[in-house]
């Protein structure tokens, strides 16, 4: 129990955020209307993805220093989980865009850059498949992972600020916190972020343990 408290916490947060996300009162805003509830699902996906990718970079650095094969498995599995969250982020974003901007893919800068950032990690998976030898694969992909991470940060946090975006907080659009992320929404939004990050971390540990069992059974 004392070891799994964060799993319980994460589940409670996600359950609470889902129920309250659909039922709690939200501010009435033009255009956004009820679709503002997507904030509780769309944004936490990206936060979880970034946390998982950071975890994988941490393990890649650890692998280069220690040459321990387990660190490599951790890096891959956190990237696998992170990619799932990224794809979910794009899908929830596309649904939201369909109802507020009129088109699922509006060629908004943030949409495009997020897709490119995911391409970086698909390239990482392709690189892994291209190398047969295990030790070599682990080392080279760890190096590419660390090399790609600053680029992802530039793509997601620096470049969108340079040009106008339809997203709130960019290009003259007011940010969410200026008027509509009022205290009622914060009560749901923060637990949703924490909950999804915890659940993402849990999924990653499960995938990692599964992979380790598979590997041990084969060897």
């Amino acid at each position: 129990m004392y070891k799994s408290w964060w799993k319980i916490l994460g589940s409670i947060f996600v359950l609470y955020a889902t129920v309250a996300g659909f039922l709690a009162t939200v501010p009435e805003l033009p255009i956004l209307r009820e679709s503002i509830r997507n904030l509780y699902f769309h944004v936490p996906m990206w936060f979880s993805m970034i946390v998982l990718f950071s975890i994988s970079v941490y393990h890649s650095i650890k692998f280069l220093l220690s040459n321990n094969a387990e660190d490599d498995l951790k890096a891959v599995e956190s990237i696998n989980t992170g990619i799932v969250f990224g794809i979910l982020g794009i899908i929830t974003g596309a649904i939201w865009a369909k109802f507020t901007w009129g088109q699922a893919w509006s060629f908004d800068v943030k949409q495009n850059y997020a897709a490119i950032a995911l391409l970086l990690y698909f390239a990482y998976l392709v690189l892994r498949n291209a190398i047969d030898e295990e030790q070599r694969r682990a080392k080279i992909s760890a190096i590419y992972n660390i090399f790609a991470f600053p680029m992802m940060v530039v793509l997601l946090f620096v470049l969108p600020r340079l040009s106008d975006s339809l997203h709130p907080g960019n290009g003259g659009n007011p940010g969410f916190n200026s008027y509509d992320l009022d205290s009622r929404m914060r009560m749901v939004f923060y637990p949703a972020c924490a909950g999804w990050i915890l659940i993402g971390y849990w999924i990653y540990t499960l995938l990692f343990r599964l992979r380790r069992l598979n590997k041990n059974r084969l060897s």
Partner: protein
């Protein structure tokens, strides 16, 4: 031997090898010139925005061809030989500097020829030149490291393209924005943001490659 003299010797070696065969330079020059001709013959006259986009597409593929040679062309035996006599820092620094020189020469010739063929000169030529200089700088720093990664991964050209495109796209976006400013003849203070972002990306990539290359180089 200290680092500086090692770097000097390695650059001299690269230049000497290139001077003897003149393979990379002539090959890539021919590639650029014929691509520009094909573009000219199929378009004859273009509007400035297309002119700019075409230039960067041509330079992108030319630079991938030029820089990917730096590690892919060297045989296993020669790599082992260099490994025994030079430090990895000296090697990556010298390769990067050599590639920067090669790309600078190539970009200047290509830009001159391109302006000649299409009979179009950007409104703010000095700023356009600065942008191409920064472009060749970033192309060479990024592609040198990616070519090292793909040469170690063992199956050359295909992997090179997959790994480098997602990494180069953010740089390309900023470059096209910057050169667009130069074509429109906007005030130069507008472009300072883009220039500083390109410099930051270069410093980041340079620092990360310096840190990672020793791990990659040790087999």
């Amino acid at each position: 031997m200290d680092l500086l003299s090692q770097v000097k010797f390695l650059i001299k070696k690269e230049l000497l090898l290139e001077w003897r065969s003149k393979y990379a330079l002539n090959g890539v020059l021919l590639y650029v010139v014929s691509t520009i001709f094909v573009c000219f013959l199929s378009l004859i006259s273009v509007n400035p925005v297309t002119w700019n986009a075409l230039f960067w597409i041509i330079m992108l593929f030319a630079s991938i061809n030029a820089v990917s040679k730096s590690f892919l062309q060297e045989s296993k035996g020669r790599q082992l030989y260099i490994y025994t006599i030079a430090s990895p820092f000296a090697l990556i620094i010298s390769k990067t500097i050599y590639n920067i020189l090669l790309m600078l020469l190539l970009t200047i010739i290509a830009l001159g020829f391109y302006m000649l063929v299409f009979d179009y000169v950007p409104t703010d030529l000095p700023l356009y030149l600065v942008a191409t200089l920064l472009g060749s700088l970033s192309f060479s720093t990024i592609f040198t490291m990616v070519s090292a990664i793909s040469s170690k991964a063992g199956n050359g050209g295909m992997l090179m393209a997959i790994l480098s495109f997602p990494v180069i796209i953010p740089v390309l976006i900023v470059l096209i924005k910057l050169t667009k400013n130069a074509i429109d003849g906007l005030d130069r203070s507008v472009s300072l943001d883009e220039i500083s972002i390109l410099l930051i990306i270069n410093v980041l990539v340079g620092a990360v490659s310096l840190l990672l290359f020793p791990y990659l180089w040790r087999d």
